[in-house]
């Protein structure tokens, strides 16, 4: 018996099971706890690196499993990859400016204007 065109849900969809989803949720909770714990140690610059690495791992888990990127077409993966590349480009160019300015002294921070709404903070 010949097979018709693949129906709406391709067999590949069944690769991610309910069990996998549950494991991913547990992993996300554990990583959140780890990130919180690490931040309380106040490790200085390492703080930033640890927090961002854990956030990246969590994002990868959400995208690969919850958002089914594992089952997506090449076209979709290419769109995602390109967006990540553009994101990093924008970020690096923007942050590269203040990090590498050496040609003239930094302008002093502008003075704080008087609060517009007096008493917003006072009870």
């Amino acid at each position: 018996m010949a097979h018709a065109q693949t129906p709406a849900q391709a067999p590949a969809h069944h690769r991610i099971t309910a069990r996998t989803n549950l494991f991913v949720w547990v992993a996300l909770v554990v990583l959140t706890a780890l990130s919180y714990g690490a931040s309380r140690l106040h490790l200085g610059t390492a703080d930033i690196v640890i927090a961002l690495v854990i956030a990246t791992i969590k994002t990868a888990l959400v995208m690969l499993y919850f958002m089914h990127v594992l089952e997506e077409t090449f076209a979709t993966r290419a769109a995602i990859g390109l967006a990540v590349l553009l994101f990093l480009t924008l970020l690096l160019i923007t942050v590269g400016d203040p990090l590498t300015r050496r040609t003239y002294p930094r302008a002093p921070a502008p003075p704080a204007p008087a609060p517009v709404l007096q008493g917003l903070g006072a009870d």
């Binding site: 709406a8 309910a18 956030a55 919850f66 967006a83 006072a122």
Partner: protein, 227 residues
């Protein structure tokens, strides 16, 4: 295996489904229509990502300039609220993933229930966020010219809290839109307008909700942890 002239034509079960939507002229099959819609959703989501890219870039640039002030601002932020909200959103991402899994298996009623649960959890996020905003406002941590905190009068701290409000505000707007989308597909699922073949709406609303989660996964360390 070769089809004889007598073999009846194989019927695509997706086309035979009672809830089958219209099939666009440009598609041969529902499978293709389904994949094309998911691709379209992804293109939309990555353009959303680039909106937030601007904010993350501004944050990084100002932090490079006013690192100590940003660290002080983070110390004054409420990590407890932020962390609880992270767990709340992660859990809602899990329930929406479970809803997609259920509807893919043809268990539309279960999917509807899971979507309602997701909406409830999403609402909890907004309530906690509201409590947090009100705490900040009472301490004078208001955006831009409304900032009146005297403990941290530095320019960098003002900038930190202004970015905090813009980023969490834009994110909160996405939460509200996401809740609307989830409510729409939950209602359709409740009325059994989806089955194992036709449920791309649930998948798309789910993807949007996961995007909201992913953005928060980065906002959380950036605004609450990296002191």
């Amino acid at each position: 295996m070769s089809a004889s002239p007598d073999t009846p034509e194989v019927v695509d079960p997706a086309a035979a489904s009672p809830v089958a939507p219209g099939l666009g002229d440009q598609y041969d099959t529902y499978a293709r229509q389904h994949r094309a819609r998911l691709f379209g959703m992804w293109v939309f989501l990555v353009s959303e990502l680039l909106i937030f890219a601007g904010l993350f870039s501004l944050y990084a640039a100002y932090r490079a300039e006013y690192g100590a002030d940003f660290a002080a601002g983070i110390e004054h932020n409420n990590a407890t609220y932020g962390t609880i909200n992270t767990l709340v959103l992660i859990t809602s991402s899990f329930t929406v993933a479970a809803a997609v899994h259920a509807v893919r298996g043809g268990r539309t009623r279960t999917a509807a229930r899971l979507l309602y649960v997701t909406i409830a959890i999403g609402a909890v996020f907004l309530v906690i966020k509201g409590l947090e905003y009100s705490t900040h406002l009472h301490e004078g941590f208001a955006p831009g010219p409304y900032y009146s905190n005297t403990e941290l009068p530095q320019f960098g701290a003002r900038m930190f809290f202004t970015l905090y409000y813009i980023a969490t505000g834009l994110h909160g707007l996405h939460v509200v839109v996401g809740l609307g989308l989830l409510a729409f597909v939950a209602w359709k699922a409740h009325r059994l307008r989806y089955d194992e073949y036709h449920h791309v709406g649930v998948e798309m609303a789910g993807l949007y909700w996961h995007l909201v989660d992913v953005i928060w996964i980065f906002l959380w360390p950036v605004l609450y942890l990296m002191g």
